[in-house]
Symmetry: C2
Subunit: 115 residues, 2 copies
C-alpha cells in the first residue's frame, strides 16, 4: 500500500482555514479520489504542539491518502488534479510538502504485530 | 483521537536501518505502548519520492502512533521513554521531528464521509 502525504509547514503569519479544509476541500477530495477501487483510506490531522506542550507544531496540518499502488493513485488523481489543486488557495497560502511512501507497517487497535 | 507523528528528515549521508527499525524497534514500541487501553493504532511508512518521481522524499520515514488522548499516550509512553529513546541510535543518526496532532478525519476504504 502507498501513502501520499501532504504536509503543511506551520509558518508564522500563514493562513489555514480548517473549516473550509475539513468541510469543503476534503469532502470533495474524498468524493473524487475515494471512488477509485484502489482507494484505501485517508486521515487528516491538525498539529497542536511539538514534542513538548509549549513548542509549536512543525506542521499545521497533515493529510495522508492511502492507495493500493502509485498507479491507482495517479489514475484516481490525474483527472481531478486541476480542480483539486486550484481549490488549495481557498484554504491556505502554504505550499504543501508532498511525498510518496510505502506503508511498511499498519497496526490497528489491539492487533499485535507478527513476532 | 490524537496522533503522535515522528518524522525522520531525509538528509544526505544519514543512516537509517529499516531492517532494525521494522523488525526490532517498532515491534518493541508496539509491545510496550500497544498494551495501553488508549492505543488505537500505528503506521510506519518509508518515503520513496517527493511530489515527482525523480525528486527525493523530504522524509526517509514517518511513524504515526494513534491514541485516544494525549493523557493515554503519556501514560503509555512515559514508563518506557528511556528504553525507547535509547534504542533510536541503533537504527538512525537522524533527530526525528515529533509533533502532537488532533485527528480531524479518518476515513477507511469505501466509507464515504458525512455530507
Amino acid at each position: 500500500m502507498v501513502r501520499v502525504s501532504i504536509l503543511y509547514p506551520n509558518k508564522a503569519g500563514a493562513r489555514f482555514d480548517f473549516g473550509y479544509y475539513t468541510e469543503s476541500h476534503m469532502p470533495m477530495s474524498i468524493r473524487l479520489l475515494g471512488a477509485h477501487e484502489g482507494f484505501r483510506g485517508v486521515t487528516v490531522a491538525e498539529g497542536f504542539s511539538g514534542a513538548t506542550p509549549a513548542s509549536p507544531a512543525p506542521f499545521i496540518a497533515m493529510c495522508c491518502f492511502d492507495f493500493e499502488s502509485v498507479k491507482d493513485f495517479l489514475c484516481a488523481f490525474t483527472p481531478h488534479a486541476e480542480v483539486l489543486q486550484n481549490d488549495i488557495a481557498k484554504y491556505t497560502d502554504i505550499a504543501p510538502i508532498i511525498q510518496f511512501n510505502e506503508v511498511l507497517l499498519n497496526v490497528a487497535c489491539g492487533r499485535a504485530p507478527a513476532a
